[in-house]
């Protein structure tokens, strides 16, 4: 899979409360509607202007805090193609993979791009191309790759249980 999109760049320690506010966690049930509130308390422009395939580039510890899965769902539903961060908080890391939202750990791209730049990601090749520079990123661990290949945890479990 290869995607090309515009960068939305953020800093360190972006928590899941600002990705998807707690006050909506039990009032918004529709996945598509969740997208309208994505990053509301961090960057109101994001939900208004992001385009399908856009890429979030962040610093350390993206997705820390609450385990709320809507933080992954709202970004996926907003059409985000990938999140590239220096590191991810553990629960959010799993939530993104379980939702089939591609995530990449890389510490090199942050210094190369700014918001609005175009970035291309080649998942099979493990390469990010930005500002004419190509950066390699490591493949997922094998057990995670199986999950990603199946498109997330629900299809993965269905397949494992022979329900597809």
């Amino acid at each position: 899979m290869r995607i090309r999109g515009k960068v939305w760049k953020y800093g360190d320690d972006v928590n899941t409360d600002v990705i998807f506010a707690g006050k909506y966690t039990y009032t918004i049930k529709d996945r598509a509607e969740m997208a309208r509130y994505a990053l509301e308390d961090l960057d109101p422009e994001f939900a208004r202007s992001a385009s399908p395939g856009d890429i979030i580039v962040a610093g350390r510890n993206w997705g820390c805090g609450s385990s709320r899965e809507q933080a992954a769902i709202c970004l996926k539903e907003r059409g985000i193609g990938a999140i590239i961060a220096r590191s991810f908080a553990r629960i959010h890391y799993r939530n993104c993979l379980n939702e089939g939202l591609p995530i990449i750990i890389s510490s090199e791209i942050q210094d190369l791009v700014k918001s609005g730049d175009e970035v291309e990601v080649d998942f099979e090749g493990g390469e990010i191309t930005a500002a004419g520079v190509t950066i390699k990123f490591p493949p997922y661990p094998e057990f995670v790759q199986g999950l990603v290949n199946d498109g997330g945890l629900v299809p993965h479990v269905k397949k494992t249980l022979g329900l597809t």
């Binding site: 928590n15 506010a21 039990y26 509301e40 308390d41 899965e69 553990r90 057990f143 629900v154 479990v157």
Partner: protein, 418 residues
Amino acid sequence: MGRTFAEYVLGRAAGHPVSANEVVTVEPDFCMSHDNTGPISRTFKRIGVKRVWDPNRLVVILDHGVPAPSSDHAINHKEAREFMRGQGAPHFYDVTSGGGVCHQKFCEEGFALPGQVVIGSDSHTCTYGAFGTFAAGIGRTEMAAAWATGAIWLKVPESFRIDVSGELRDGVSAKDFILKVMGDVRSDGADYMSVEFHGEGISAMSVAERMTLCNLGIEMGAKNAVCKPDRKVFDFIRGREKSSDWEALWADPDAEYARALSYDLSGITPGVARPHTVDNYAPVESARGVRIDQAFIGTCTNGRLEDLRDAARILKGRRAAVRTIVIPASWEVYRAAMRDGTLDVLIDAGCVVCNPGCGPCLGAHMGTLAPGETCISTANRNFKGRMGDKESFIYLASPLTVAASALRGEISDPREVM
């Protein structure tokens, strides 16, 4: 070489010895979820399995919005209720006087047991480490998959050892200690790790204080946090335990750690986490005088009897200068605080005592903030917008500091008003 706590417990669950960074698939002893059981049950249905793998292992405790503050919340509760009934799953804690904040109830009901593996669809599931449980938070879809399969993959975490000596001074509490640790370790300093609290300083603490420490584990990125199970834990769980298959396990003295820190509790002073991150630590004197609009005492971090008594100690015979919301963490706590007069003291001081639940901690109801308002809270998160409006401000502190601040209407050092 010796093994860490995580290696012992996950090895026990996997049925063979394991080492850090290995990936294991284990059967959880209990699966905790709360109001999010509604959405989890919908995902479970999408998977296409009719029955959960073991209805006795599901524990569902409604707490995030109780009683339901809106019909959306009520629909959610209804879904959870119907799902548990349909599955014949007995461990359902509805909106009754047998309920409370999920993490408090889970422990009170004897589901948090030494050497067991618990997963919970809430990040503060790590609280159960106070009982020597390996307990980790997960997401909703992951919980639905665990219900369907009875299995979850876990990377055996590397471990982070925190040695604690000495004793806390009067006016200083376990919350002050863990806020200081947060300031040092920062929000990702224990990412994916198992945090072990060691030493005489921890042995001297009550189970309630240990719960406060382990509760904050997730705020430093930890997968789980744990204290050595001892007589205090065994006494607590006696007569409550929901499973006999537990075992007190602890790290070997020569276990290998990825990171280590040590503290002397006698050097800890009252502290706060300033807006908008939990690791934005400062000694209370540097925030002294900050005007507050609201004080909040409660939550899975600091809503236990010991915490309410701390607040009452400050507020006895006095009057809070700002609106002060008190939410006992469970009805067991509520009743105990009612019987020993703690609630009377707090009500006499002008506090509004609400029914057990998460309350305003996540901005749902019972004390959300207006733009520009500042709250000092005993909770575990002060993220922007957490308590309602993104233009509001949250300081985190101990029950003593929150009560002292409520008394003066500004952030205050409890040692000055004791």
